[in-house]
Symmetry: none
Subunit: 214 residues, 4 copies
DNA sequence: GATGAATGAGAATTCATTCAT
DNA sequence: GATGAATGAATTCTCATTCAT
């Protein structure tokens, strides 16, 4: 789904910072940049952030070391570019969630939103997972990730019609925690269930656990 | 709580693998081993598994480089020893959970169990978090971690009196996902709430989301 | 993985194994590889295999540590490359030996062949000597060395016109033993004689000891 | 008072120097010392000098690191002790060689002497072989080994009734070279022949190659 | 006498980053 | 724009030797 996101307007992949910061990229450069970003996702997914070597990425992108540093100052910057992509995607997703009312319509809305999140996670899961690893890093990629999830939690808190007894700010985070981690379990083959079953269960737990008639 | 396990029989600390196949350890050796394990927890917690240097661990344990390799073949093996410890602790915790019935007693049981888990996570969180990172490693530390959480999920599934509509096997994992990740958010300062508030909310979501009168 | 470049050019020096399975080398790379191999001979000759440090080799080659590992996985692999070189040289030498008949022509042929061997030993002696040391190694450099000498012995056995009373297979090895070791004694300054005297004596012993009219 | 042993007779294994040089050794100590020397032979035979670890020796001797350094200042000193043993044995062997006359008696004498050498090599071969390796070492164990073989060569030169055309000093070394190396080939399984066949061939080559009626 | 444990200097190896073409 | 090659600082790991019991 996401990669060559054809829908995306003019904004190109430009925000992916580069050493010569705002280099003008011709078609060829655009293509190389895209290859590197995609390779990053692939490699980070396979080995995680720390274990990923620039060499792995370069090989996956079928390009050279020298070229890598033409586009990114270092591995971290490539990762940051990916995080920015994810942040944008998640932000977009946040907006797509409509009010989850304590009725069938609400449940359906929740479920379909969860399905979209699952898709997003299937593609960008490695990046999301890695926020945790990266948290100790110098640059605040960790902070960035935290903000993204925090924003998502806040959005959820606002959309889910929760019981007045519950601290929705906290509950929002609990839900995000569950959704994020559960999707990881699914991807890592730990959850033995079809996609539909998994989605149903997740929807149920959230719906019953949090959503109620106010 | 967990670390100093005084009850342990003759073979003490033995599970902590050592090169040269579990050497017999005298009092002094036992002490050094303990120091190294504790240092491992400290350092892994502070910088994460990958960023942790053997040098950091050695310094934290106030011992020498050479000594480290007397007890562990490498960082990974030290980590594996810690995972074994955690596995044991989690297994112990699993057994402590009594049936969570859909009444106040059940809710109280659940809450107190969650409190214990939070304590365990406060101590061993770094190890648990790292399972994810470690999953690609040669040694099946990843598998081990997966098994631990899987076992916990199964236990929960058995104890929580769930609705017949819900696939409890899956729901168990969802709950574990939430509990594990939520505790991480708490530790990383993302959840702005007192311990009690956090526990209450977590209890509520699980209780309302999963536990019902059968 | 990028399929092996179909345009594989004459890979020269190729037998010198390289990590990452024989990379293609340009002129610059070829040169560096040559420098490393030469440095290997120099250093192994001076300090022996075990005492030789990668650092010594790198200094002798006026290159960096990192570069070394670009060409060889470790010291052993560099040695193996040298052994392959020697094997080739020795094989070449084997073929140059014509029949050693029990007359003056035969004696002359033998002597000039021994002179050539001496030259080869002067250059590659360190490698040959080290086969012995290396025999316990994982990689079968030891075996390789054994094969080389065994082949040489067989060739000698075939060329020397020996007495029917003698087991030429065994005698061939005895001759190789003497020639190999004697050259070592010469190099280590143990033999106090001019090159010509040494060659004469060696020729005499072999000629009188093994070559006879059949 | 082992080391400076003036009264040769019950000379025990004492000359094997020890850090506290002239330590008095009781029965127990003698035994431990013997175990270490034997372990040295075993381990040096198996892995060569450089690859042999003090740890290996200590394990083979079923004793501890601490104990090792009670008897030897370091690995080299243990090796030196073994070299001294060999030197003595070889010296003894030198004396046993009677004149090798160009007749059947001479041939028989030569053959039986070679047989004895083979026995000695079977036991101490590793030490002899290692002289080569050790030659670069600081302490002059190498020199010592060279002297031993040089002495043997001189003795042979004196005993073998050689042709006046041959430089017997050089020929002696050639013979030693052959005998030493050939025995190595035998031990390493390179010579495929029975002990008798091997001895016969060796005798023939030396006899025919060097011994003649003056 | 003997031993298990500790030590740290030295050697090997990796890999992000820079450079010359 | 792109690339192969080079670099060296950072790290891991080994092992001879010393120490405390």
């Amino acid at each position: 789904m996401p990669p060559s996101d054809p829908a995306a307007p003019p904004r190109q992949l430009g925000r992916a910072g580069a050493p010569g910061q705002n280099r003008e990229l011709r078609t060829r450069g655009q293509h190389t940049l895209r290859k590197l970003l995609d390779a990053g996702i692939t490699v980070f997914s396979a080995k995680g952030y720390h274990a990923a070597r620039v060499d792995d990425i370069v090989k996956a992108a079928r390009t050279s070391h020298g070229t890598f540093y033409l586009y990114f100052a270092n591995k971290e910057e490539l990762f940051a570019a990916l995080v920015a992509d994810v942040a944008e995607e998640v932000a977009g997703l946040s907006e797509e969630l409509s009010d989850v009312t304590p009725d069938d319509a609400g449940r359906a809305a929740l479920r379909s939103w969860l399905a979209r999140f699952a898709d997003l996670y299937a593609h960008y899961g490695a990046v999301i997972r890695t926020w945790t690893e990266a948290e100790s890093s110098q640059v605040d990629v960790g902070r960035m990730g935290r903000d993204v999830l925090g924003g998502l939690a806040a959005e959820l808190a606002g959309r889910l019609s929760g019981s007045p007894d519950i601290d929705m700010a906290v509950a929002g985070l609990a839900v995000v925690a569950m959704v994020e981690r559960f999707n990881y379990y699914v991807l890592s083959g730990q959850v033995k269930a079809t996609r539909d079953e998994a989605l149903d269960t997740l929807t149920d737990v959230i719906f019953d656990g949090v959503v109620v008639a106010r």
